[in-house]
């Protein structure tokens, strides 16, 4: 059934491409993700489809490279420019590398917004943060601290050392660290969003810091790999793995006890909001400027700051009590 849907979607896209300018009244919004095949972005695409159904005259093109590289995304952007889409909503693999390609898109009259992982201000009209960065930074350390009443050593397992969003969250986390007395962040390591490297880095952390009480992994690949490494090292109950992950991917590890709780915003809402925002900008309903309030359907309004950025909502905490309700959704 899934495959059939994909086939239908692909045929629809192909048909639209062939029809070209004849269907100019339908707004074509491209949702460009970091890489295809990541559960989080598949869920965002669901939200985008929901928005398209609600708005009516919108065709969503869900696309992205097959691996998380800026080069791959530049190729995708160039292809979208050639297809003359109306708007591009992108989650970027690199803050700066995509700017020239996206500028070119804007010069051709294409609305460009970034969401999830941002592009430098000159490369987009607005950026939709899934949540506010300070709030996420606070959340990931709070998740660890909540289960450590007496404090202890915690370490961060990030994705790649150049991942925009990871670095900002870790920076925000460091700012509020003093609010959690006794919590001692001993190291930050990088698993490059590869299951095997993340697993090895988690093993390394447990070896280097025998008193480690928690691993904070603000990445969906890292948190799963770290949870598996903790289970394999038979340190469940001793080392708590937390951070940002997806309920479907974490359900097993929450039940095994390797992870007591983790957080994530709702990617469906995120894809939905990005699509509605892109639509509102492309149709001229709203203009992206500092202080603007742009409606985003059922998610309320987005208020832009001086940097043309806005936050969608607070991250949501999942634990053994509610993870099963969400594991089949995303």
């Amino acid at each position: 059934m899934k495959f059939l849907n994909k086939l239908l979607a692909a045929t629809a896209v192909a048909a639209v491409c062939m029809a070209g300018p004849a269907q100019a009244e339908t707004k074509r919004i491209a949702l460009v993700v970091k890489a295809l095949g990541i559960g989080f972005f598949e869920a965002a695409a669901e939200g985008a489809k929901e928005a398209a159904a609600e708005l009516g005259d919108v065709e969503v093109i869900y696309t992205g490279p097959t691996d998380t590289t800026a080069e791959g995304q530049i190729e995708v952007i160039n292809a979208l420019i050639a297809q003359k889409v109306d708007a591009i909503a992108i989650s970027a693999n690199d803050t700066d590398a995509l700017v020239p390609a996206l500028k070119k898109a804007m010069q051709r009259g294409i609305t460009v917004i970034s969401w999830d992982s941002g592009v430098a201000a000159e490369g987009r009209q607005l950026h939709l943060n899934p949540s506010s960065n300070p709030l996420i930074g606070n959340m990931i350390i709070k998740l660890a601290a909540d289960h450590l009443p007496d404090g202890g050593d915690v370490a961060v397992l990030s994705a790649s050392a150049t991942a925009t969003n990871q670095n900002i969250w870790i920076e925000e986390m460091t700012k509020v660290q003093d609010n959690y007395p006794g919590i001692n962040v001993v190291a930050t390591v990088y698993g490059d969003d590869l299951a095997d490297k993340s697993y090895r880095e988690a093993q390394g952390l447990m070896q280097t810091y025998p008193d480690l009480k928690a691993i904070i992994a603000p990445t969906s690949v890292g948190i799963v790999a770290a949870a598996q490494a903790v289970s394999d090292a038979e340190k469940v109950g001793q080392v708590n793995v937390t951070g940002l992950g997806l309920p479907s991917e974490m359900a097993g590890h929450v039940h095994s006890g390797a992870s007591k709780s983790f957080a994530i915003w709702n990617p469906i809402d995120l894809g939905y909001s990005a699509t509605v925002l892109a639509y509102n900008l492309a149709t001229g309903v709203a203009e992206a400027k500092a202080g603007a309030e742009i409606p985003m359907g059922r998610m309320g309004t987005l208020t832009l700051d001086d940097n043309s950025e806005g936050a969608m909502a607070d991250p949501f905490v999942y634990d053994a009590s509610n993870v099963d309700d969400f594991k089949d959704i995303f």
């Binding site: 899934k2 495959f3 994909k6 890489a35 295809l36 095949g37 990541i38 559960g39 598949e42 097959t66 691996d67 050392a161 390591v189 990088y190 590869l194 299951a195 095997d196 490297k197 697993y199 090895r200 880095e201 093993q203 390394g204 952390l205 070896q207 280097t208 799963v224 790999a225 949870a227 598996q228 394999d232 479907s248 991917e249 974490m250 359900a251 097993g252 590890h253 039940h255 095994s256 594991k327």
Partner: protein, 326 residues
Amino acid sequence: MTGFLKSREAILAGAILALLIGVASRFPAFVAPANLANVFNDTAPLIILALGQMVVIVTRCIDLSVAANLALTGMIVAMINTAVPGLPIPLILAIALSLGAMMGLVNGLLVWKLDIPPIVVTLGTMTIYRGIIFVISGGEWINAHEMSDSFKAFPRASFLGLPVLSWIAIVCVVAFLLLISRTPLGRAFFAVGGNPHAAVYTGIDVGSTQCAAFVLSGMLAGLTGYLWVARYAVAYVDIAGGFELEVVAACVIGGISIAGGVGSVGGALMGALFLGIVKNALPVINISPFWQLAISGSAIIIAVAFNAASSRTKGRVILKKAEHAI
């Protein structure tokens, strides 16, 4: 010739030892026997794949599709496991081996029957296999809670103090030692790589021998696919992304000549161990992550430089022997 190879392996063994001593000076717990067993276990997939890659490289080919083959087989067996959780593990292993062998056969037949350069064939099938994973999985992950317990437990089950994953690597090493030194096929790999024209005159079919090498490499990739997915308890499109280059690097470091005809099981094993130790040591010795890639890369360049230097001496030695004979 064998004396030279032995000394080359001795150099590599020395390098591994030096590496271990260096790491131990910064983080003594690294060389504890239990941790070394962990490192070996972590390197087991690389060892298994390097053995398959070795025979392919020895026949003057290269297999860039191993990681994609691994990922596709891993995804298929994980999907089979979710659909039929009760399927016994031996059957899963058989499926993984035959799926991998089939994908290797596709490479082999394209190289043999259509005479396409192996690097082009496997570059193509690498992308095709990754693409197929996306098509069959719809981009979805298969997660720990969807796999059956026995499926996940097999590679980590302990047998005589070592996990099964490690034992499989050891069995593969022994099997390859026998294959290379005791079977006509094993000797044919070297004949084909060393001098294809001479091999033809001795009655060896170059194409079918290369095809056999690809099937072997594919079979091992398939086996590793199951072990990988079960060990990390997750299957998705990108697993083992870029791992094919690590496998080739392990072979190159192990002294297997990209030009074909030269290589040994010991070399592949030690090349893989060297990379495995570097990968496991870097996280614990507090080196900036920005330097880690540079360090791994330098190890490869140094090894290739060694290879280039040693292949020059090899030429001279043979000529001298020939002169003496005359």
